[in-house]
């Protein structure tokens, strides 16, 4: 098959193709063509045909029996880093401390909700902690956890009813910084356009102390109905990294909020946030749900891997995440610098 240099480069750059190689002499020597050769030929031809026809089929990630689609799409499975030596704080509804996938881990808990322990009765906190820091080989099946050797700070800032106040959340951030968190993951937000001075102050002082804060962009979009939504508090703080959600085809999720025009209101990066499988309080053990809440701990866990590899903290760690992100053929308004990417092998 004769391809122009440009066509070859385009085919090579397309991650959906396994490989594009010169034909060489394989088919010239033997009479029969190998199955592998023909498959490569077919894939390249299909790709080029689709390009000409203007309808490139999207990439499609799905869970395998080994790992979730999100860990595949972000390169976590190929990263030698484990999060060892890095502290990750998750501020949410707490953690199911009885969950077998967290047995034997270095975990510190604190509840900021009056009258409640850090034990997660809601499920959300256990799910996001599972993504950021869950086990390498969970008992129930496929891997979903990223920084599987990180120290975990599980701060309960949202009660069993799923609600929490600024005072609880800010107290959790303050605790996490004091306890040495390299990353704070906050899968929470309010649909408020105006930047909060308190969160911006907190995010700025966290960065200065070497703690990166990542937060969910928000789920207030209804893209199918023409409403792209807006990034809310606290993710709209300039010093807090706002995380959008993409699906297994690396398309923007219908619910994932777009950048807003306020200073700091931009989406900074995207993570896997549709049909995300992770831990859930017993007896269920696991659950599959969607949201920018689920995309956020992917970024937090991967930030821990980067920090382990390079030693970067704060603003420098922010820059590494944004620089390493895989660019997507989507508006930066929706996905920022692209899909978060783990440090490669």
């Amino acid at each position: 098959m004769d391809l122009s240099a440009d066509q070859l480069a385009a085919a090579r750059a397309d991650r959906r193709l396994l490989s594009v190689e010169p034909e060489g002499v394989r088919h010239a020597v033997g009479g029969s063509l190998s199955e592998e050769y023909l498959r490569g030929f077919r894939d390249a031809a299909q790709f080029l045909h689709a390009q000409v026809a203007g309808a490139v089929a999207p990439a499609q990630f799905g869970d395998t029996d080994k790992r979730t689609w999100g860990l595949q799409a972000t390169g976590v499975a190929d990263s030698p880093e484990t999060g060892a030596g890095i502290t990750v704080a998750v501020l949410d509804t707490g953690l199911d401390l009885e969950h077998p996938d967290f047995a034997g881990r270095d975990i510190e808990t604190r509840s900021f909700v009056e009258g409640e322990t850090a034990q997660d009765a809601q499920g959300h906190g256990t799910h996001v902690t599972g993504t950021a820091c869950g086990a390498l080989a969970p008992g129930g099946g496929r891997r979903y956890g990223i920084a599987h050797e990180a120290r975990i700070l599980a701060g309960k800032v949202l009660g069993d009813d799923g609600s929490g106040t600024d005072a609880d959340i800010l107290a959790g951030m303050s605790w996490a910084i004091s306890a040495g968190a390299r990353v704070i993951s906050m899968s929470l937000g309010a649909d408020v356009r105006e930047v909060s001075a308190a969160y911006e102050t907190a995010g700025r002082r966290a960065l200065a102390a070497g703690t990166l804060v990542v937060a969910a962009a928000g789920n207030n979009a209804r893209r199918g109905a023409g409403d792209a939504g807006f990034v809310g508090v606290p993710a709209n703080s300039p010093s807090i990294m706002a995380v959008a959600a993409v699906d297994g085809a690396l398309a923007i999720a219908d619910f994932s909020a777009a950048s807003s025009p306020v200073e700091g209101g931009q989406v900074d990066i995207a993570g896997p946030g549709v049909d995300v499988y992770s831990s859930w309080p017993e007896p269920d053990g696991t659950n599959t749900i969607s949201g920018t809440s689920m995309a956020t701990p992917h970024v937090a866990g991967i930030a821990a891997l980067w920090s382990q590899r390079t030693g970067a903290t704060g603003q420098e760690l922010w820059a590494q995440l944004v620089q390493a992100a895989q660019r997507l053929p989507l508006p930066a308004n929706d996905v920022g610098s692209g899909l978060v990417r783990a440090p490669g092998a």
Binding site: H124, L158, S163, T165, D166, L188, A197, T201, A209, N219
Partner: protein
């Protein structure tokens, strides 16, 4: 009527946050927490005192406290 507020301390006043807290208390703030690593103070004050708290030396901003709420655990989008 008492109102919950969140107060951010200005960059140039973080080092003397205790003085800012004392001034806020004199101004009618009932202090709940002094979050030193953040330079943020939480508490409550009577509505008629809240606006004046913003004028206390070393205060960068006074905000009413918000409540955040997750969707129910059985909803598809979280």
């Amino acid at each position: 009527m008492p109102e919950k507020v969140t107060i951010s301390v200005a960059d140039d006043a973080v080092d003397r946050i205790d003085e800012v807290v004392a001034a806020l208390e004199s101004g009618g703030l009932q202090v709940d927490q002094v979050l030193r690593p953040l330079g943020v103070i939480t508490g409550s004050a009577d509505t008629r005192h809240v606006q004046a708290l913003g004028g206390v030396a070393g205060v960068a901003s006074v905000e009413p406290q918000r409540t955040f709420r997750l969707p129910p655990p059985d909803s598809d989008v979280q």
